[in-house]
Amino acid sequence: MNVLWLIMICVSVVFAIFTGRLEAYTQSIFDGAKAAVEISLFLLGIVSVWMGITRILEDSGLIYRIAHLFKPLISRLFRNIPGDHPSITAITLNVLANLFGLGNAATPLGIKAMQELDGLNQDQGAITPEMMTFIVINTASIQLIPFSVIGILAGFGHGNPAVVVLPVLIATAISAMTALLVLALFRRVFR
């Protein structure tokens, strides 16, 4: 992350100087700050809602039952999560929310999953293999029906916008699997 950020800033400033867009660049810093505030405010609402719901799940013990139910499935991808750990539920709910295209629910549940996974972390501040697998699954964006895409296609007059459902599904499935494969490859090389 450090190297990536450094490169982006340096390249941007050099380009801004050579293309004479210094004013636009300076403005973009304030735009970026504003966008961060807006998204954080949005997150504040939905994250709090999902934290409330998951607290009921915890207090009623439902979170451990769901974890128990999905343990066999999740443990294939995440080997080092013990028995009825609540992170299994959070991961399961996050994956389900992603599958059904519920982005607003997926992000808070993903945050919850990361916190639960961090609870198992021996070395705070360093990433664990489980966290990496989880993030890679999330960036691969598995989705059954891409509602927003279909909505836009339909909005501009496509006769049968649902034709994209199958190719999107095929593309996501293949790229999710290759993403996990790339991760496994890096894991082997950098052990």
Partner: protein
């Protein structure tokens, strides 16, 4: 079939909420107090994420505004042009990992100008549906637990994104042209 699935996805969250509240009540949980106690955690989590979001957004917006983004895109254009990939799809492929709102705007624009049934629009649709806003996901999820040492995660995500785009292009061509 479409409308049934759409209805199901509308139903999920309300039903889930109802089930959670009823199950909690059966298990003698004071659901109202429990929800409030959980929601209290929200602000501290978002406060923790905020600096990470700010940091990554400044870099992304600056990258777009400085013209570096256009140069990167043009470089990709010439690289992909002879592979028969519409330039609109290339823009889409570069914008999607960086910004969700920008990619939605770009996608709408492509559909409008190229026509909803053109190859460019369909290819962009598949990219839009199968790629994720990688930088946002990284900032939020890593920020939530204050991870500093990410090891090889970032290169893996970027390589996976690149493969994902190629897969989307190949699948679209195969599905709509074959």
């Amino acid at each position: 079939m479409m409308s049934a699935v759409e209805y199901l996805s509308l139903l999920i969250i309300p039903l889930f909420l109802l089930f959670t509240v009823l199950y909690g009540t059966v298990k003698k949980v004071r659901v109202y107090d429990s929800f409030v106690a959980g929601a209290k955690e929200g602000p501290s989590i978002v406060l923790k994420i905020f600096p990470y979001l700010l940091t990554i957004f400044i870099a992304i917006k600056g990258f777009q505004a400085s013209g570096a983004f256009d140069v990167l895109r043009n470089a990709f254009y010439s690289l992909f042009a002879f592979l028969g990939i519409p330039i609109e799809a290339v823009s889409m492929a570069i914008v999607k990992p960086l910004s969700g709102s920008a990619s939605t705007a770009l996608f709408s624009d492509i559909v409008k100008t190229a026509g909803p049934e053109s190859l460019a629009a369909l290819m962009s649709a598949v990219i839009m549906g199968s790629a994720e806003t990688t930088f946002y996901v990284l900032a939020v999820y890593l920020g939530a637990v204050g991870i500093r040492k990410t090891r090889y995660l970032v290169p893996v995500c970027l390589i996976a994104d690149l493969i994902g785009i190629v897969v989307a292009v190949v699948v679209t061509r195969w599905y709509f042209l074959a």
